[in-house]
Symmetry: C2
Subunit: 337 residues, 2 copies
Amino acid sequence: MAACIALDAMGGDHGPVEIIPAALDILKKFPDINLILVGREEVLDPILKANGAAVNDRLRIKHAPEVVEMNEPPSSALRSKKLSSMRLAIDLVRDNTANACVSAGNTGALMAIARFVLKMLPGIERPAICTTMPGINGNTHLLDLGANVDPDAAQLFQYAVMGSELTKAVQNIASPRIALLNVGSEEIKGNDRVKQAASLLANSHLNYAGFVEGNDIYSGNVDVIVCDGFTGNVALKASEGVAGFLMHHVKHEFKKSLYGKLAALISMPVLKSIQRKIDPRRYNGASLLGLKGIVIKSHGSADRLSFFHAIEEAIVEIEKQVPDKITNRLEELLIYR
Amino acid sequence: MAACIALDAMGGDHGPVEIIPAALDILKKFPDINLILVGREEVLDPILKANGAAVNDRLRIKHAPEVVEMNEPPSSALRSKKLSSMRLAIDLVRDNTANACVSAGNTGALMAIARFVLKMLPGIERPAICTTMPGINGNTHLLDLGANVDPDAAQLFQYAVMGSELTKAVQNIASPRIALLNVGSEEIKGNDRVKQAASLLANSHLNYAGFVEGNDIYSGNVDVIVCDGFTGNVALKASEGVAGFLMHHVKHEFKKSLYGKLAALISMPVLKSIQRKIDPRRYNGASLLGLKGIVIKSHGSADRLSFFHAIEEAIVEIEKQVPDKITNRLEELLIYR
């Protein structure tokens, strides 16, 4: 399968300095994948050169004179940045020049522009951001992470369909177990939104497993966890906060005495192995689901390895044609309801 | 200050086996505190004896023939368990026999019974659960953790007042910085509820610091973080989940080879010191705020040390008369508005 992916080469905290090496790594690993770097030619060219590379058949540059700033309001980016690297990368997907695009830029702007340019899939009212969470017993896909802070029950149902199809494609699971995030696992718990969504899911042909609680995000006992974007965003960032807090204390205690430093030195192979296992960079690349096209959001702070994984996510979704699968599944569910 | 605290001695996963030793530790450390163990006399007496103790002037038993089960629906506990250890402990607070009560039992039942028996403070519509979260730069009080999954903006404002007064009392901070939990720190972000609450807080005499995100729960950059009970509950449990996930990998990697085991042995003093620093037992004891009385909820899985800290929380709140302070502050704010 030959496919082409457009990269918003100007997005993210580090921009092309990390994105270009990641792109070169992808070209090496995936001989059927071509890439288009979208951004300021005068910025990209020297970085390509510095990495011992140049444009060729598999790696092109699409010049984009503007850049969406990380803190720019989405409405302003949508209205006045029609020649930004983000906008032109999405335009390439709309024009079928690229099969997907990847950006580490401003999430709100990416959502707004992607929705405006690509439009929603039939039957999906609002997009959702979905990512893979590592867990003790396996991975879980969590959505929505903040695309829509106030969805209704029908939209949560649509998220369940989207999350289920993505998980089938990416994890090769025939019938993913889908749960709703709630404050308790008993049926009487929760707000009206989750109770209504539970009733929609229980009466569907989806593999609905009931309610789960926040800690289940990291148990890996279900394959898909659905929640509103407000809760999902807070849960994800609180998790980052805890991890940072724990790492802070680990580093501090190992560094504060000579004995600690020695113990750290001796433990280094084990500490490195732990770090590899829990490395969040391996899970980088959130999917903007529900659009007529594949758009992957990389973490803003992504480095080379991180961005590489975000592009890999795009490759899998192209190969498995995730947007088509969502549309087909939604049609099936509506027919059989 | 001589004060008396009623302990629901039957609550929690371990019940009196952990609660009685914790009670004895409290009596030793706080000569002005008396305790009433509420529960089945025939269960409590032998455990007291096994711990080399007996009832006396400072440690009494109030016999309660019934127990609220951990998974019992709150409505059933409220209606049909009028002689439960939980109910009688709260009754002691209402009758001014005890200055506070502490329970590790069923949270929903504790909320429902406390609200029914003690009633709400004037100006507070719904109770909130508030706990101390450790952070890199200090502690933060987070509320609500699940008392009310669908509060309105006015109720979030009331939480801010309650959290602020609790923090003043417990942390000795003159004017605690209060923030609202949101999906971004920009003013345009969030759902209607947080936007309206932000406007109420910005126009009040409270020390309002704006929006914070999930990771800020562990930064310690503000003193109080206010959110709806759905989000707060998920954030807390997701944090427990991440911590469990990380610990799982740390243990696994240190145990999987002989070298790892040796490194663990050498690092043991450092690992123990880290564990002490981040020990969640030190933060046990959530306050049920907004009631005409002090009710502390201990984690259900609390052990001796954990339950000890929950009783300590009750002691501080008695000393600082937290419910009165909340009432006074709310009156002031309404006058000056």
